[in-house]
């Protein structure tokens, strides 16, 4: 068990170092950092001084080590466009993105699992077929098109919900939240559903497939023989046994939720990290791109690690296998 954890930790560190190397190469070799930081009227001598001060003449391994050390402390340099520390910019945008991602993940789980259970138990019901057909369309259409469709229907036509921004936010000092105001909550609905739709259909199909599989298993027949109620069988026994893949997929998808937030945030002008990253890509603002890459990588690696560890908790077979080796 401990050997397993240690091995996964080492893997995680290696992945992070590879990503850091990529980010470093981007920062160092895409364009000249000095040119980006100073104005055109800066003299060559001043440029050289800045180059010296930033250590850009040092040997590459030393520069890379410094880059990693700085990144570990949360120092990603200064944005070319905004002339502000990248860490501050990202930190200011983090709450918006996290609230959006978590809301959409909750939506995907709370709607996807019941729909999956329903379609798995009532395979041939018309409603189940409708769910499946809609989910196929949902998987096929690009996120931004779905978002625009929602805006068109719910914001332009019905005028129920706002089409852009976060609404009123409350500043808690360390965190700005839109969850405490009515307009903030209303503004959250459309982006969260847009972002969560793909995950929802994925979870639904997964739960459905697993339910179909599990309901055929012997232990379910045994439950029936024991005279358990249908409810106890479906939710107590069958659903529980479908949860391992659901945990994995949801966990792994949490990362892509945050990545796809780039698109959703653009459609809804949601002031999160994704929008910041996109502006950085448009303007080739390498420090922000590098920092975002590192941040997302750290998130992915952490999620993968947690999912692997959760596996061990949920599925005793893995625990036993780990002990045997």
């Amino acid at each position: 068990m401990i050997a397993f954890i240690v091995r996964r930790m080492v893997q995680a560190v290696v992945v992070m170092l590879v990503v850091a190397l990529l980010a470093f190469m981007m920062f160092r070799y895409v364009g000249d950092p000095i040119n980006q930081m100073v104005g055109i009227d800066t003299s060559p001598a001043a440029r050289e001084a800045l180059r010296q001060r930033l250590g850009l003449d040092d040997p590459m391994p030393l520069q890379f080590a410094r880059f990693v050390a700085n990144a570990a402390r949360g120092d990603f340099g200064v944005s070319y466009q905004f002339k502000q520390p990248v860490a501050d910019l990202l930190a200011a945008r983090l709450p918006a993105t996290l609230e959006l991602s978590i809301a959409s993940a909750l939506f995907a789980l709370l709607v996807g699992i019941p729909m999956g259970v329903y379609t798995g138990l009532n395979r041939h019901a018309p409603l189940a077929k409708l769910f499946l057909a809609v989910s196929l369309v949902g998987i096929s259409l690009p996120t931004f098109l779905i978002g625009i469709l929602f805006i068109f229907v719910f914001a332009v036509h019905l005028r129920w919900l706002p089409s852009f921004g976060r609404g009123e936010v409350v500043d808690l000092g360390f965190w700005t939240t839109g969850l405490l105001t009515v307009s903030g909550l209303k503004a959250l609905i459309l982006p969260a559903i847009t972002l969560g739709l793909f995950q929802m259909t994925l979870i639904m199909r997964l739960v459905r497939a697993e339910m179909l599989e599990v309901m055929r298993a012997d232990f379910i027949r045994f439950c029936r023989a024991r005279g358990l109620t249908a409810r106890a069988i479906h939710f107590g026994h069958a659903l529980k046994n479908t949860l391992v893949p659901v945990i994995t997929v949801t966990g792994l998808q949490l990362g892509s939720v945050i990545a796809f937030a780039i698109i959703t945030e653009t459609v809804f002008q949601w002031p999160g990290m994704g929008l910041l990253f996109l502006q950085a890509v448009q303007n080739v603002d390498i420090p922000i791109m590098a920092a975002y890459l590192m941040l997302i990588a750290a998130l992915f690696v952490a999620i993968n690690l947690v999912v692997d560890l959760l596996y061990v908790v949920v599925d005793p077979r893995i625990r036993l296998a780990g002990r045997a080796t």
């Binding site: 992945v15 590879v18 990503v19 981007m26 070799y29 895409v30 364009g31 369309v137 096929s140 259409l141 690009p142 996120t143 931004f144 098109l145 625009i148 469709l149 805006i151 068109f152 332009v156 089409s163 990362g255 892509s256 990545a259 796809f260 780039i262 698109i263 653009t266 459609v267 990253f277 996109l278 950085a280 890509v281 448009q282 080739v284 390498i286 791109m289 890459l293 997302i296 990588a297 992915f300 690696v301 993968n304």
Partner: protein
């Protein structure tokens, strides 16, 4: 199976089983029809399109935001209406589909060639080369393709500051989409290469002294291509979506050579002012295109997968 090592995958593709399954599936036939129509419209766009959307001189701002022909104020000159610059939407749509498909095909081809080559080398050579290629694939697979495409897009444009969007957009798109989709091919090909490399015909080829490159390209490659074709079919829809997304986000095709994604981006600004046609037609076109290519890919995958028969 080992007695008949060289069953060409092409023969299996054209097998009557596939055709029979196709004729039985109404969805597949409908999807194929829609795909063919759209492909043809895109291929012959210069012949069909009533106007040349790239000819800036022919654009007239007086004609801008004309509604479709069947609405009040519309004219038959512009069947589907015009956009904010007076560009004929039907022509822009045809040319836009052409660009979207061109980027899609080019990037799928690029990804497939890259992935197949790396997969072959990893599977056949093995050792350190294999480990390095597959670790890179593992790391890349953890990230969503769209994020990788965005990063490569930004980086490449940073490396080529001298080029204008018009000159570089196509290449940058193909490069970034291709580089974000190669992993699947590499993994599949590596897997089948490992199986093939242990077979007797490969041993025989090595015994008569053929070079590794010849063995990989002439002998193993034809035997591992089958599954790759299915991946390519499914990836085409993904590539089209990725291109549309990148263009929609403003880092893809320039406004002067709009792809479907760029047309939708332009149309989004007019969502609130009532000029719905600017966004609805490109949006519907993209949706139908992606849906039919997807359905066709799914059909191919199911029909060629003996486990599901």
């Amino acid at each position: 199976m080992s007695e008949l090592p060289a069953v060409a995958p092409r023969g299996r593709l054209a097998d009557s089983d596939l055709l029979a399954a196709f004729l039985r599936s109404r969805v597949a036939m409908l999807a194929a029809l829609a795909t063919l129509l759209i492909f043809a419209a895109a291929a012959f766009a210069p012949l069909i399109a009533p106007h040349d959307p790239y000819d800036l001189a022919s654009l007239s701002l007086l004609d801008s935001l004309t509604p479709p022909a069947w609405r009040a104020g519309g004219t038959t000159t512009y069947l589907l209406g015009t956009d904010d610059q007076g560009r004929d939407l039907l022509s822009a749509l045809l040319y836009g589909t052409r660009i979207s498909l061109a980027v899609g095909f080019a990037s799928v081809t690029f990804a497939a060639v890259l992935g197949i080559s790396l997969g072959l080398v990893a599977g056949y050579v093995g050792g350190v080369v294999d480990a390095v290629i597959m670790r890179i694939a593992d790391v890349q697979l953890t990230f969503p393709a769209i994020l990788i495409a965005l990063l490569i897009d930004g980086t490449v444009r940073g490396l080529l500051p001298g080029l204008t969007r018009e000159e570089s957009a196509f290449g940058v798109l193909v490069l970034s989409i291709g580089l974000s989709f190669w992993v699947q091919y590499a993994r599949t090909v590596r897997g089948s290469t490992l199986v093939e490399a242990s077979k007797e015909y490969v041993l025989a080829a090595r015994l008569i002294g053929l070079s590794p490159v010849t063995i990989m390209a002439r002998h193993i490659l034809p035997n591992v291509l089958g599954p790759v074709l299915v991946i390519a079919a499914i990836n085409l829809a993904l590539a089209i979506i990725t291109e549309a997304t990148l263009s929609f986000l403003g880092v893809g095709m320039p406004p002067t050579q709009p792809s479907l994604g760029m047309l939708i981006r332009v149309g989004q600004d007019y969502l609130f002012s009532g000029e719905w046609w600017i966004i609805v037609f490109p949006g519907a076109m993209l949706a139908i295109l992606v849906l039919s290519v997807n359905l066709l890919g799914d059909f191919l995958r199911d029909a060629l997968n003996p486990k599901l028969r």
